[in-house]
């Protein structure tokens, strides 16, 4: 290691590396920031074409539950009709 000198900064392209580095870091993070800003808008548009699916088969489970509920309702109506028709 040699003595302190301003010339070392010039020789090592210190200013160039630093300015380029800061610009690149900002470019990367601004790009991510812009992407995040527009992401909900893109997803809203996409929702019209490709609606968000429920995760881990929850959708299927909901359908099954709904089907069970429907069967229960039908059974209750049938029971009520049966009671009505039998005059009880």
């Amino acid at each position: 290691m040699s003595k302190f000198s301003y010339q070392h900064i010039i020789d090592g392209q210190g200013f160039e590396i630093s300015i380029a580095g800061i610009i690149i870091v900002f470019t990367a993070l601004i790009s991510i920031s812009l992407f995040i800003y527009f992401l909900p808008k893109i997803l809203n548009l996409l929702d019209k074409v490709l609606p968000e699916m429920s995760h881990n088969g929850h959708g299927h489970q909901q359908k099954t539950v709904k089907k069970k509920d429907d069967q229960g309702t039908i059974a209750a109506i049938a029971y009520a009709l049966h009671q009505g028709q039998s005059g009880k």
């Binding site: 290691m1 040699s2 003595k3 302190f4 000198s5 301003y6 070392h8 900064i9 090592g12 392209q13 210190g14 200013f15 590396i17 630093s18 300015i19 380029a20 580095g21 800061i22 690149i24 870091v25 900002f26 470019t27 990367a28 993070l29 601004i30 790009s31 991510i32 920031s33 812009l34 992407f35 995040i36 800003y37 992401l39 909900p40 997803l43 968000e52 995760h55 881990n56």
Partner: protein
């Protein structure tokens, strides 16, 4: 009697120097800070004990230390030397990071970029002091307050300074609660510290899944040198957010990161043999590291104030200090300093946004510097 005399000449008492004793004392201080003050105990304790181990000098020809080829410690240290451990730590960090607050307020990402200025300004300072450009870049990255990134870059560009840089980086990460508050208070007014942030919006599951993939592509295309660190960070995050690889995410954020932290901390500590470590260069690195860390903190705070000139909805400039990527310590410091002014002001959640952006920023900065010197 000869056998006894021979044996005594092989003991640590005979081979140890005053410098080794100093390093053992430093190791004890690290362990004390970890246990008594609870400063980054997961890192300081393994590093501290490693310091003690590394300064017991063995006989020549007896492969014991990290520098002796064929020793067990040397094999483990290969993970540091070849830059294997830092990406694995990034994988774990990704698997435990929730990017929600960042996704809900993307303008706070800029604070994570501003806080990387310390890296590049310190690089200039290190060049002035006579370090080579590769060494200066490795020293500058300490300003990113990201231990794994500092180790990764110095292992690639300046392996001869690895021990000093790793110790400096982790020491300053542990000293976040001491270094940052005075700078934050100095650069902000009471009125600014009292600013309250709007509650973050709800982030959808789909956003959380898409984010790591696209953010990786953006970083990798702009700075291919950041692929190793950023790739592992976002891969870990995708494991977490996908919801279908919970077992892998669980392993990455617990078992894997813990194992790697133990191996990395211990061997980095063991690499601080006084004969190599106690040099003028190491002192300069410590000085420059403190400078880098302080500049990064100041740049983050000042950039938040600069952003407030243009923003209708002002941001609390204290958040800028969280742009250095000491996760989650610097975010906690923001919360602590903010609550000193207003106990009902909760900034922690908001501070996590620049904090995780800082992790990305420092990895990108490391990629920029690595690419530059490899391409040269």
């Amino acid at each position: 009697m000869d056998i006894l005399n021979n044996f005594l000449s092989t003991t640590g008492f005979a081979t140890m120097t005053a410098e080794n004793v100093i390093m053992i004392a430093i190791g004890c201080i690290f362990i004390s800070l970890a246990i008594i003050k609870n400063y980054e105990p997961l890192l300081l304790l393994p590093i501290g004990f490693g310091c003690i181990v590394g300064n017991i000098i063995s006989l020549e020809g007896m492969p014991v230390s990290v520098y002796d080829e064929g020793s067990v410690l040397n094999y483990i240290y290969a993970g540091v030397e070849y830059g294997v451990f830092p990406p694995l730590i990034f994988l774990g960090i990704g698997a435990m990071t929730d990017f929600s607050t960042m996704l809900s307020n993307p303008k706070l990402i800029l604070l994570g970029a501003a806080a990387q200025m310390g890296i590049f300004l310190t690089l200039i300072g290190a060049l002035y002091l006579g370090f080579t450009p590769q060494q200066a870049a490795s020293i500058g990255i300490i300003g990113g307050a990201d231990g794994p990134t500092a180790i990764f870059l110095s292992s690639q560009l300046a392996p001869e300074l690895l021990g000093a840089i790793a110790i400096a980086a982790y020491s300053y990460m542990a000293l976040v609660p001491i270094i940052q508050p005075p700078i934050m208070k100095l650069l902000t007014t009471k009125k600014e510290r009292l600013i309250r942030m709007k509650a973050p919006r709800q982030v959808s599951h789909r956003e959380k899944i898409i984010f790591p993939i696209v953010a990786f592509l953006i970083c990798a295309v702009i700075v291919p040198g950041s692929i190793v660190l950023i790739g592992m960070l976002f891969f870990g995050n995708l494991l977490k957010e996908s919801g279908v690889t919970e077992r892998l995410a669980e392993t990455a954020r617990h078992s894997l990161i813990d194992i790697v932290t133990i191996l990395l901390g211990f061997t980095v500590g063991a690499s601080t043999r006084a004969q190599d470590f106690l040099q003028e260069e190491s002192l300069l690195i410590f000085g420059l590291g403190a400078l880098a860390f302080s500049i990064s903190t100041a740049c983050g705070v000042l950039f938040a104030k600069f952003m407030n000139i243009f923003l209708k909805e002002k941001i609390n400039p204290l958040l800028g200090a969280a742009g250095v990527s000491a996760v989650p310590d610097s975010a906690r410091v923001v919360q602590h300093v903010g609550q000193k002014e207003d106990p009902h002001n909760f900034l922690l959640m908001h501070a996590m946004a620049p904090n995780v952006a800082g992790v990305i920023g420092s990895a990108v900065a490391a990629g920029v510097l690595w690419s530059h010197f490899i391409a040269k």
